[in-house]
Amino acid sequence: MLKLYYGLPDPAAGEAGRAADAGGPTDINGPRFDPEAFLTKLQKECPLAQLMDCETDMVKQIRALDSDMQTLVYENYNKFISATDTIRTMKNDFKRMEDEMDGLAANMAAITESSARVSSTLRDRHEQIAKLSGVHTLLRKLQFLLELPARLTRCVELEAYGTAVRYHGRARAVLHHYRHLPSFHGIQADCQVIMAGLAQRLRQRFRDGGSGAKDLAECVELLLELEEPAEELCDEFLAHAGARLAAELDTLEAELGPPGGAPTCDILEFTDRGCNSFVGNLCLVIASYQELFVSRAGAAPIAPMARAKLATFVEGLLGRYFGLVERRVQLEKGVGDSSLLVRALDRFHRRLQALEQLLPGAGSASEGTAIVERAARARVAQYLQALRGFYQDCLTDVRQALAAPRLAGKEGPGLAELLATVSASLLGQVKAVLGYVHLFTARDVAFSNKPYFKGEFCSQAVREGLVVGFIRAVCGTAQQFCEAPGDRGGTAPPALLLLLSRLCLDYETSTISYILTLADEQFLVQAEVAGTLGSVLCAEARAAAQRLLTHYVRVQGLAVSQMLRKSVETRDWVGTIEPRTVRAVMKRVVEDTTAIDVQVGLLYEEGVRKAQSSDSSKRTFSVYSSSRQQGRYAPSYTPSAPMDTNLLSNIQKLFSERIDIFSPVEFNKVSVLTGIVKISLKSFLECVRLRTFGRFGLQQVQVDCHYLQLYLWRFVGDEGLVHGLLDEIVASAAHRCLDPVPMEPSVVEVICERG
């Protein structure tokens, strides 16, 4: 083994091939060194000198190796000797240790034996002690049971109900288990009696309710522990609370005042009271109830039942409360400032929010919101009503104002001022109402965030209902004046018609858009909620104005007509005397027309007249010029051609424009007056055609017509109309005349000027 170890470097080795073939058979240090190959190689390759060098080198190395080997062998030998010594001492030590181990095992066996002996002696005693301690516990329990009635009684006396219940709870199972034993049965009976008393007392206390919520809670807890039926307890609790709440509601109801009478306090106070007493207490009740029956640990099995009971209970009470609030809100008929109402509703609403949080799913908040909505809607309706009323009052005022100065004999009672007053006060009222209504949507009011108040209330209730409704009412009421009256009393004074017509026209031009813009801005009406367009309202207002004005023209025209008709009908035209003056009625007609002119002029612009032809003034005479008249009446004298009259007048008509008696009236003075004059003259014509005239009758008509001619032309837009109609009247009178001799135009003029 060692030989192998030393043999390796042992053979002759040359360093020459080391570098050339590392690890190869020629490497003297490599593991596959082949001495033959090495030698052959050396001999083949190296010169003699190098072979000599190699040989010396190799000898030197072998010597060094041999000395190294000797040193190593020596050292190892020393070590080996010391190791042999050590093993020898170890052998001695082990032998001693074995002896000691044997001694230990013997001792252990002795100990085990003695321990077994001791335990066997002690076993009997131990069993006895265990039995004794069991008996002791049992005895203690028995003593507790025996003492239980007394203890319970004492507890009850001391009102330590909690302890009593705890004691009883501890004993109950045992007593129940051993109830067949007479003695236990007695105890159980006693206990039951006592506990029944206790329960009775607890219930009493529970029912009295004088104690605070905590006491009450304790009561309920104890009662529940006493296995009283939970349902009954719930009912009792609720009934108890319900009675108190109902009493509060009764107080509230009393504050509503007698039916039909005024409420005893204002709505804010009412709501306050309702909130504070009723809703507050209701919240308390709900909270304690929930604590007792619903959320208490261990109440899980009765929770659904309890919750259902609570829901019905709350629903009933709230229903009544809402009824009261609604009644109270309905009593709120005031049309003034609505801030009180809004605040009251706000408070109401907030409290309900709280309630809703306490008891989600009771729908109290939504119901409350509905009430608020209804109240708001009702309020808006009231405002509309009030606005209408105000408008009616305005109209009544105007009527009175119109009637009053006339008694004093003054003409034209400041129609323009009246109009301005009406207009301004209406606008003011609308603004005020919008302001009041705006409170409902104020930011600090909780319910203004509800979608209803954001959207529908603004667009539907306020804009459509209130504003548009009012404008419609204005126009509608105005129109009613055209419809109903005229036949059976209650005729609106013409001036009122005129005024309303102007009012409607003003609404059309400016007021409507102003009010609508105002409302839209104040209430932020969304553009996409398409309401009634301003243009539609404007059209309505314009139509109303048109109708009113038309009606005005008609009324005034018919009034003048009536006057003319009576005057023509009642006179004996055949036997009348030669005319000396213009008949008074004609003057009256002119006066009235002038008055109407003034009246209309107060409210309407002048309007456009037809360009007056240059010969208009002359025409006055030419119409009645003898030559034309001769021409016209001439055929009457010659019996040959009666048709000529007709022919002539027909031809004449072909050239003159057809007179439309009632063309649409425009919104200006001239148009209005033209309408009135046309109607009047047409009526005059019709009346004349119904009569038969004598010579002087005809002449009187001539005079009258000339007089009208002189004064009426200035009122109308196209004086040709007046001329035409007056011509027609005279011609008709001539035709209906038994002795048609017309008066000399100059005489007519003189009479007219004198008149």
Binding site: L558, R565, P642, N646, I661, F662, E686, C737
Partner: protein, 383 residues
Amino acid sequence: MEDDAPVIYGLEFQARALTPQTAETDAIRFLVGTQSLKYDNQIHIIDFDDENNIINKNVLLHQVGEIWQISASPADKGVLATCYNRTSDSKVMTCAAVWRMPKELESGSHESPDDSSSNTQTLELLCHLDNTAHGNMACVMWEPMGDGKKLISLADNHLLLWDLQESSSKAVLSNSAALEGKGQLKFTSGRWSPHHNCTQVATANDTTIRGWDTRSMRQIYCIENAHGQLVRDLDFNPNKQYYLASCGDDCKVKFWDTRNINEPVKTLEEHSHWVWNVRYNHSHDQLVLTGSSDSRVILSNMVSISSEPFGHLVDDDELSDQEDHHQEEKTKEPLQDSIIATYEEHEDSVYAVECSLVYRNQCRGGLRSCSYQVVQFMLYKNR
């Protein structure tokens, strides 16, 4: 192709009085009375041949005075009554008389002579309705559906019921009633209801409409202030017995249910001046014709208050009848009150409109209006 153009018939004189010949059942025939102070007045008998659209006329002289109102006997084609003005030395009196036209004109079938002026025939006076005690006659009415023996005339404030005796040669005042009241009350017009066995008459004075029972001559209803101003004319719905139409100076036409006179059933305000005349179409009472001094004649369709509120049925063969050129698109329209037509051809006031009693083929009829100054006659074909 026939169109809506009216057939125009010219009169020589002005005229206000127009009536359909009530007793005539075949031809469409109207009577017109003229008004002339200077010449002999005439009664024109106008036949309208609706198939050929031709007018045949006959002229009768009515020499006693200008005719204000005319009405034809319901029983005898040849008998008619007129109200006329008699002028005598600065006094004008309105009288009434019953006349008979010459036999050969009764039928109206014969051709009128080419020159009618040469041999104009004269009416034969049957009897006067003596009104010396009662004042001016406003109107004469025959008993509708009667035998032509009973007449009612309105004279100032009297309602006079006459019996014609001895083949109409004598008129006996059988009953009368007077209107009492403050002021001068004067009847302006009246109408004899064809319902209730012809026992009711409606009259108008000023703004009031009154109903009378001809048996007792007592007032049975009174519509005060029926119109804002004078009531001009009345007409009974021929098929609905309580319905009455009225018109007046307030430019309105109103329809009344005489059982409930507080409010008119319906009011029309289409005219712009006095409405002088209102007439129901005899066969189709939803058609109401009004004439006004605004020179318009308006034909309204008052379906909602007619006896045929659901429209009348149009037979198929009627539709196919080639002669009916004016087949109505109206029947297909929803049933709403509407104006069917406004006739504006008149150049002056329209004082009288009438519907022919003859309604041929159930859809053809004449309506006719009488305009004053222009003295023209328009015959409108309606339907």
